[in-house]
Subunit: 442 residues, 2 copies
């Protein structure tokens, strides 16, 4: 058996501590299956003195992550600090340049600098593993980079933010508002004090950016992702979706089209019978459509110290096994430039909810506008207001009552839907901005 | 870039032809991501002259698989002939001994000889990859052997036979009998002319045997698997399950218990809300419970030429990438002897359907027998016969009409249930053998 693989660990939060515990708990098993033992030899964290419930007395303490990352006494630098710049970026770059393998859970860093970091790893002949960066404990990076290496991928999509899925699940099951569910999520530790990053879709976007590159062999480009959060969803939408046979999920979707690659994060109507619709609470799921295998779906815990540590330690086992693979599945120099498909060219079905003023001719006018843009309607559900709308503002005296009208379109384009809705707004027949949710074919 | 990896392919059925096509279609992509190109240099199959729609003119033809497997001009022997002995066994052994890597989809061979073959691969410093042997296109071997390497596994279970799941799905959706659905499956090519191997659970057992070894680090022991097929299931059972909030699936389950490891294949009641209950038609799914990550579920196509080829080619890419791993996840010499947990000690809930003769005191007697064996009942559904039973045979003249009684027990032991049912039969209150289906906690 070779010498032990020496690990330098930066960040001793929930995940870092769980990694240390796991390495100790499965020490013999891991050494046996990897053919090499692993040992944490050096650590760094914000506070040196905090009691974390793990024995670190045999580890050298570093105040500076960069010094740890480049220290002669480590083979692998494990970055669990987070952040897309500063210490995380500096130390990961320094480690790669110093010929250290890097294992990280840092999606933000990779979404921003992944192309360069992959190149740096290749130039220095070391591994850059990041299984924990996407969907926590689900080995989706390995599945795409290795298990589905024999497929041309046409689409990858998933539920990759547990906070959002928890909120949407509770809104559906209990009929509670977004705000109520968010507060509960915060109380239970499923959401941050400032939840913006989760509920506006940024976290999902970081993860999607990595999967897009793996799926299509393109450079990571997180800034091009179309982003729409879940804050505008109402219980009306959840209920209407339910009645129409759908659930609403915050999906990240990357898809090849004739004009480029769509990368989009938005609330999505998915058929109740689909695998992805069954994913409830903080669970994550990712589905990949390949030309040979068809569709593979993986689900499991997307966050939490132990689940994330599971992925980090699996990455370490791969290093111990001396698995050599390009970080983004192919040489960084061979990654294609990302060509963005215009969101306006997106094709799909749409759910549209309108709060219609009950003027004579309003419905005819709305139907006319849809027809003008070649939008065919699959279903129309109309109901008289009974507290169903809370934001409806009556502007004109001749209005009797606003009515909720829900339209489901057949396949059309985003361009057509946006133009039609703009004109419907201008026509003055609706009393609140229209709600529009994309339907995904599954 | 290194020299091309030279492949010798034995078996040119649906899967073999699909492998050849895939290697051609993605030639450049695979060479780029693997760092090495791949080329089929030699082939063998039953008939040399058949037109298979692929160009094999550059390949050397062999009449004898063993000669091909040991030929100097191949690096990897790809065995796609099938069979747990004869040519498949001889050629795989010969290839390993000759220092060739082996990629195979042959579950029967591995279930029977996997321990020795793994040892042989290790002794000769070559890879033995078999992703396609379990759940077709789903990369479950990679997920367990690598992605979840950092977990102690407590249970693995899944739907691993598309034929059975197709039949059960149609029985449920259309209320058809087992025989009717089987005939349709045969007509559509989802079932063999002799379906025994699928519907009696043997095929699932072969796959389960491999997953058990990976999960618990034990020697493969397929002969110890408890086996119960789906042929005795009636539409009455499917309907009763539905009413009680369950679906019936043929599961393979391997589970650690206090007395050893359970390996069992049997019709299983799973809650309708569970991920595994959503798997319909020929789709496969496998779930793995790990101590760090919790439960990971993977679903996708479990059979078919292209899906299986997807796994075979991914295995080849791993060889081209020079990934070195013990075939069973740890050195063959370190595999623990398999200790069989007695099926009679199995603990769980049970569904019991009885065809009760409507004699006075029959119910009291049945309830008494259950109580004597400490079996508590979670629910009792009783209904008067209305064509519900087709096999009920009235033996005694005082019988008015047999009644269907469905019992759901709380957690108990197999021993208790079997004894109680034996006594109930002996008491003469039922007019047909009792039906018993295990409930799985998910």
């Amino acid at each position: 058996m070779s010498n032990p693989l020496k690990l330098g660990l930066a960040g001793l939060g929930t995940v870092g501590v769980s990694v240390v515990k796991r390495l100790a708990l499965l020490e013999n098993e891991l050494a046996m299956s990897a053919g090499r033992s692993m040992r944490v030899t050096a650590v760094t964290a914000r506070s040196r003195d905090k009691d974390r419930g793990v024995d670190l007395s045999n580890c050298t303490w570093f105040d500076d992550p960069v010094s740890l990352a480049t220290n002669d006494d480590i083979d692998v630098y494990v970055e669990l600090m987070g952040g897309d710049s500063g210490a995380a970026e500096d130390s990961v770059r320094a480690a790669l340049k110093a010929g250290k393998h890097v294992v990280t859970a840092n999606k933000a860093l990779l979404a921003k600098h992944g192309n360069e970091l992959a190149k740096l790893a290749e130039e220095n002949g070391v591994q850059l593993n990041y299984e924990a960066a996407v969907a926590g404990g689900i080995p989706i990076i390995k599945t795409m980079r290795e298990g589905m290496a024999s497929n041309a991928i046409s689409r990858v999509y998933g539920i990759m933010n547990g906070t959002c899925n928890y909120i949407l699940t509770r809104m559906e099951l209990e009929g509670l508002s977004f705000e109520e569910c968010l507060q509960d999520a915060q109380r239970l530790g499923y959401a941050e004090a400032d939840p913006t990053f989760d509920v506006e879709g940024n976290d999902t976007a970081h993860k999607l950016a990595l999967l897009t590159s793996l799926a299509f062999g393109t450079q990571i480009e997180a800034d091009s992702i179309f982003l729409e959060g879940i804050t505008s969803l109402t219980t009306d939408d959840i209920k209407a979706a339910d009645e129409l046979g759908f659930r609403i999920k915050l999906l990240g979707v990357a898809q090849k089209t004739d004009t480029g690659i769509e990368q989009r994060v938005h609330p999505t109507m998915v058929p109740k019978s689909s695998a992805i619709a069954q994913i409830s609470g903080v669970t994550n799921a990712v589905a990949v459509d390949g030309d040979a295998v068809g569709s593979i779906t993986m689900s499991g815990p997307g966050a939490g110290g132990d689940a994330t540590a599971s992925a980090v330690v699996a990455d370490l086992v791969d290093v111990a096994r001396d698995f050599k693979i390009y970080p983004l599945g192919r040489p960084a120099a061979e990654l294609q430039p990302y060509v963005r498909a215009k969101m306006r060219a997106h094709e799909g079905g749409y759910y549209i909810r309108l709060s219609v003023n009950d003027r004579p001719g309003a419905f005819a006018s709305i139907a006319q506008r849809m027809a003008e843009h070649d939008i065919s309607l699959e279903s129309i559900v109309q109901r008289r207001s009974n507290g169903y709308f809370t934001n409806a503002q009556s502007e004109a005296s001749e209005v009797v009552k606003p009515q909720a009208v829900v339209l489901i379109t057949y396949e059309t384009t985003e361009e057509a839907v946006r133009k039609a809705l703009q004109q419907i707004e201008e026509d003055g027949h609706i009393s609140a901005p229209p709600q529009m949710i994309r339907i995904e074919r599954l």
